[in-house]
Symmetry: D3
Subunit: 330 residues, 6 copies
């Protein structure tokens, strides 16, 4: 049975397929018996599910956010929202161990992914890094390679921009390419330094964000933050490779620490070099352009402006193609 | 006699040459007689001058900031600063009328000018504008041509960035070229709109700043500001050419009004399109990179950091080439 | 059948009357069929309406916010709120074309209007303008007359203060009269300038706000804003009448641009003349006093303070008449 | 010998006349001997004076800021500024005890005073208070009468607005009259409450500012502030007269506490009634209009704008009468 | 019948017991008849109750927030929440007058109370005050004794920290003890002044908050605030006891006025003595530590961080005891 | 010859003694010849010195800030300030190599030092650390011992608080002892964690500040900052000792990163544990109390308030002992 996408499900539908388990919580019903409240997801959205206590016995679990699960159930409406009443739930891992048929299981259907080819982004980014003058080029390559697995999946943020598989890679690739372009206009900046900073600025996010499929912040992410974590990763790698130019290194470290541009945005230092300023500005620009694009794409109304964007604190103009905007207002 | 540059003048020197009159004020000496207090400039700096009352009779004037003047005098020290005691002062215009020899008069020596070839910048900018898709391209060319004389001389700001002849042209050229480069990375933006906005964003400055040689703000500049003035210039030109696409025009107008990026920086609107955001960010970036470059160049000390920059609110790292910055601190 | 006011409607009531259509949207029911979701209004409030798909066939429309509509239907309760299930819907315009009886149609019943006689406000405002010394008086009269139709209906704001038919006129009239009164206390200000500024300060709102009966912001309102638009209207009119005193005109233009008082409130300039400060302060005062009055009037509780006002960021004291406020707190 | 005004004194002049002693400090000269450093004032300005140690013996003092003093001395120049080398110094009080001739002593010459007739302001203010409905009218009159002596001399502020004898009275009179005028426009406010608040809002300043002739802040002024002090004065007087309407009283107290309009300006409460808002706004407006007027009057330059005003954070337009401001900018 | 705690009530339960009436409002049902909407509370939470119109006749009231009431009724579910349909309602006071059996009435069950023994806190605080050097010690004791009844019950705040019976006493006791401890580290501060300030800093809250059992802000609390009220209480008591050292007194008054530490937090003065700074900082610290403790205790989830705290503007780390936080993030 | 303290030097005095060289710069005199401009210091202050070019030949140097130098010269007055005209200058190191008599050289006379016995502070701090429960206690001791030499001399800040030898040690000792005292009041906090955080919070300052005798910021201090540097030092030491409890360690790391309390003060994280809040608050309190004490001590005037403190943004009350502060204001 082909996967039915969540944004197409209607009341009464029967479901037998795979989902990504995004949240799971044990609750108590009015008679005091335990049941599971789930949030199930695929690449088109999420749906709430319930595993009532009588079913629970045959679904021993354990279940954790990020698990791929097989589900049988039925779509009901509850207070105006559809939800899934589950008759069977198990993890893909357990189903496999039980010898079940998993041929319809396709993780690509189950979570949002960058629209770019991640492998290609990866190779282009690595090539870009390879062109950076040593010793910075070597440092960047070592770090890319060490964290390749995480970089291929990590989102750029949990919620705001590029919040999907490969989002961090896509964001890094845009900032790096824009830095390369800007260096043509500002040739007196140190290109190796600026490019290394552009590629590494958000590296700490791979330690800040948990499982990329159901992203939350790690303890280290919440207590230390990706800026400090990323700085530490660069510093450690540089020690490991016995980086030969401490003066150059400290300028790269500064770019990482200063890349949010201002103390109130979480950087313990403001940019004190032109390269640090450039990376700070192009990082921020890419995040904001992406938030704008995402918001424009997700707006389905007929209005000429989108709804209010909570982070950007404005509505966006959708660029209507009507002939005479100002005349029409009179 | 060749021009003696102000930053080379020493106590006791005799001077007979041309200056740019930057400020002039009539004051009263201790005996109650009037004298002139001047600020004279050339491309290397400024020096205070005094025309005492007994001299004043033979220097009838009138004098105004921005005048080129011929000066005879002598360099004295007063409270530790050198100044010029003037024996004769007249405007170049008056000297010419008197038939004096002006062969040593060379305005290029007397004020700071962009280090780029202004004519070449102009042609490149015009060419860039010429490639913009109509009708925006036509609008941009009309405005460039209408204000060509002012654009070739106007500084980008009185004090902070590009404060010299041709500074506005240089700044515009950088922002435009960076916009062009960024459009390669973000091809889904409207290139004609972004480029037109980049070229026209600061056009109002030609009405905000008085005489480019001794720049002050005009009355319109102080009561209305270059953002509103520039918007009005675009709007009027569009009316004059009967601009055919009001929807496109209003987006260009929005870029002008929103190019300071936030209300508290003087834009009555925040950027609500991606093109407006791009121009806002690249404008700000160019101004800041230039302020940084200027500050780094003007710093003559041996320290590893510049002095504090009042607008950027930080000192800048000068990128010392010593081997071991962090070891040395222990 | 006389109009039943919305705030009096109860479950089960049958309705056959006219409304103002404030919002209209096509949605899909659970079986996938289209239906219309409406917001209908009269001067006492709004009610949600549904035109289910089977009804839709005989109600072809088109419908747009701001339309006056004739409605037949029945009041139901849905999740604790009453709503209108519509059996027939058509625009007054279409009904008229169909030769229907419209004798009960009275637009005055259908939207909130200033409690003042708009015609009288208009005449008083015009008279006040007529007393302004030329050439400013002439400029003001020309602008009032040019935009008379819009001024008679436009609200002062969509939501916050004077959000009703004629609200802008009422607000302008209050600010102008207060300015006149203040000039008695501060006779050294330029009265013509201050009064012209007071009358024209919000004129741009007639281009910022769409149809006054279902007010939204225009594209120009959202991309340019009423401050810039109003400035442009004054500037254009002055050009048209060949305004003879540019120095006076620029001070009037400054009042328009500066009337929000601070950059962070959207004025690209702070007030740099006493007249501009006066208009800025009295405008703000009238808006806030009106918001306070509206909030006090709309509060139906027995408490001594109103609920929190989101814009004013405070609750208001209702001035209880109990004998001993402080004793009672012990 | 007629009084020589300080702004007319020139190097070499001999002086034998009276001054207001504004500051006095004992210092040590380079040989270790004590001398007095003075600031002497009259209504046209201030001059620094020195009483060297050899003179000091015959000028026993004691001297305190605010004393009227008789001075003999000579005007010298020191580092480009004139100063007074004093040969004899004594207080008017001591001179009188010594039987000296004081016929040339005229305090009116010695300090800046409001340009209005203080006695007349006082009577008009008292009359205005007399028209306030009881019991508020009675409370206001009692407070005016109790503090009459201080109100007739106290400045409205040490430095910023109305910093002269009678300044507080003048400011209060303006705010009260503007309140009266505004009540014609907003007749639904409580007039007695608004007027009482307008008259009493700054009463605490008579306890915040020391000697009006050489104003400094009192200890209470610096540790408690005029807002709290004024509130306490009203509260005490109300207790003393057994004010019959506690509900009305607390609203008046609120006006005093809230009259700075926002917490960050030192009010512990924001205005929560319309009367409190009105007094807050008209107080602030009067202070700002006065600062503008003072700044415009004190500006002696030929520029079209004043110098930057540190409190208002702007330069002011002087309203030049030239024919064509905007043309001239091109 | 033993008290059934609100957090244990389930649909269908019959209830006959006492509650604290926290809110009460008369509303109109759909047929236009009046009914009462209640919020009933005990120490474990609150529940909504309805007294429908047919019942109302036998429950004449009057009822006010803060009343203890006897209730008979039944627990129903309405839109997913349980609520109480009331069959009988009367105040404890009226029941007593009717001679009803109140033996099950125990106020301690009905509201949240500090976990400390209030009588003991009170005695320790009084003892601490007794050790303060006169005359400050005497002043503090007089105030404690005068307001003892209120201090034993008043919460420290309505919502944010220590929002329960005796909360103000507990908070005061912590701040006072911490001040005592800090004085060991900073022995050069004036201990009597610091301790008196610590004990009295929030005294005004007993006039700011109404009935401690259902706390709301008084009119004086909202128009004047606890800072001004507390200052006035100290000032009056000092007058009453003819406090002998005005210099010391004004420093104590300053501590009260300045204890919020900054204008924007409602203090009309910033701390200008070290004792005022100390009290300001330790007050704020205790409130924040308590908010943190309350938030940590109230968080029932399995997550390593609490939910977001609206006042502290952060989530809190719950200090998980897992072995390896940072490893687990990879 | 005994050391003459700088604050006692008078014009004409001959000097032959040792100083601390705080700044040194090569300048050019009016004839174009080089001379040295010095700032020389001892524990009582600083004096400017000049080594004119003819003297320079016999004073080959090199000289650097932080050097102890022997000086012969004479005190002159220049523009009202005394300065030292130097006849001979050499470093103590070079003098020693030349076999000169250094018996009068006593570094203790030459720079400001904490008034506490540094050795005793050190031992008390170490003892306090020794009582911390392992493994945190061990980590703290390792770090104290590793950086003992720097901790014994480093100031707590260059300018604002504890800007003298041993200042960091003194500050740390106060914060640690206050933390210990606070833990008695708040026993439910983790004492080992709070104390370890208190002792280590500013450790990074030993890498942020250069030579303690003439403190400047290091390159690492300006590009990375003491917060990040201190965090890295703790992290590295923990790795070195194979710290067994990563969960505990990350909480300690968080205290270091969060100890400035807010992003805008340079912490990349806000405190998310109670221990982190406690260290943040007690650190800030100690710095502010010290700034207050320093400012009060340095104020020599007779006024009741100090001059304005630029960092604290207020003047401080000096706690005058006059009898009647408020009476005197009337």
């Amino acid at each position: 049975m082909p996967h039915q996408f969540i944004d197409q499900l209607q009341e009464g539908a029967l479901v037998q397929q795979f989902f990504l388990l995004r949240q799971v919580e044990t609750r108590t019903d009015k008679t005091g018996k335990p049941y599971l409240s789930l949030v199930l997801g695929d690449k088109t959205g999420t749906i709430v599910g319930r595993v009532w206590s009588k079913i629970l016995a045959k679904c021993p679990g354990p279940f954790a956010p990020g698990d791929y699960v097989g589900v049988q159930g039925q779509v009901d409406a509850y207070r105006g929202e559809i939800q899934l009443t589950v008759n069977y739930l198990n993890t893909v891992q357990a189903l496999e161990a039980l010898g079940k048929d998993l041929k319809d299981f396709d993780p690509e259907l189950l979570h949002l992914t960058t629209s770019y080819d991640r492998q290609q982004l990866w190779e282009e980014l690595r090539q870009l890094a390879g062109n950076i003058q040593p010793p910075l080029g070597e440092l960047v390559l070592r770090l890319l390679d060490r964290y390749q697995d995480l970089l291929l999946v990590c989102p750029a943020a949990r919620l705001y921009h590029h919040p999907y598989l490969g989002g961090l890679l896509e964001h890094t690739w845009f900032v790096a390419r824009h830095t390369l372009a800007a260096l043509q206009v500002y040739p007196d900046l140190n290109p190796a330094l600026a490019l290394a900073g552009a590629i590494l600025h958000d590296l700490g996010k791979v330690k800040e964000i948990t499982s990329p499929t159901a992203p939350e912040l790690t303890v280290a992410g919440q207590l230390l933050g990706h800026i400090a974590l990323g700085w530490d990763m660069v510093r450690e790698e540089a020690r490991a490779m016995d980086f030969p130019d401490p003066n150059l290194l400290i300028q790269l470290e500064h770019i990482i620490l200063a890349h949010h541009g201002a103390l109130e945005f979480g950087s313990p230092m403001v940019p004190k070099t032109r390269e640090a300023l450039l990376v700070n500005v192009l990082d921020d620009l890419d995040a904001k352009l992406k938030m704008m694009s995402q918001h424009l794409e997700s707006d389905a109304s007929d209005n000429e402006f989108t709804s209010y964007h909570r982070v950007l604190q404005r509505g966006l103009y959708k660029g209507g193609k009507t002939a005479a905007p100002e005349n029409s207002e009179k």
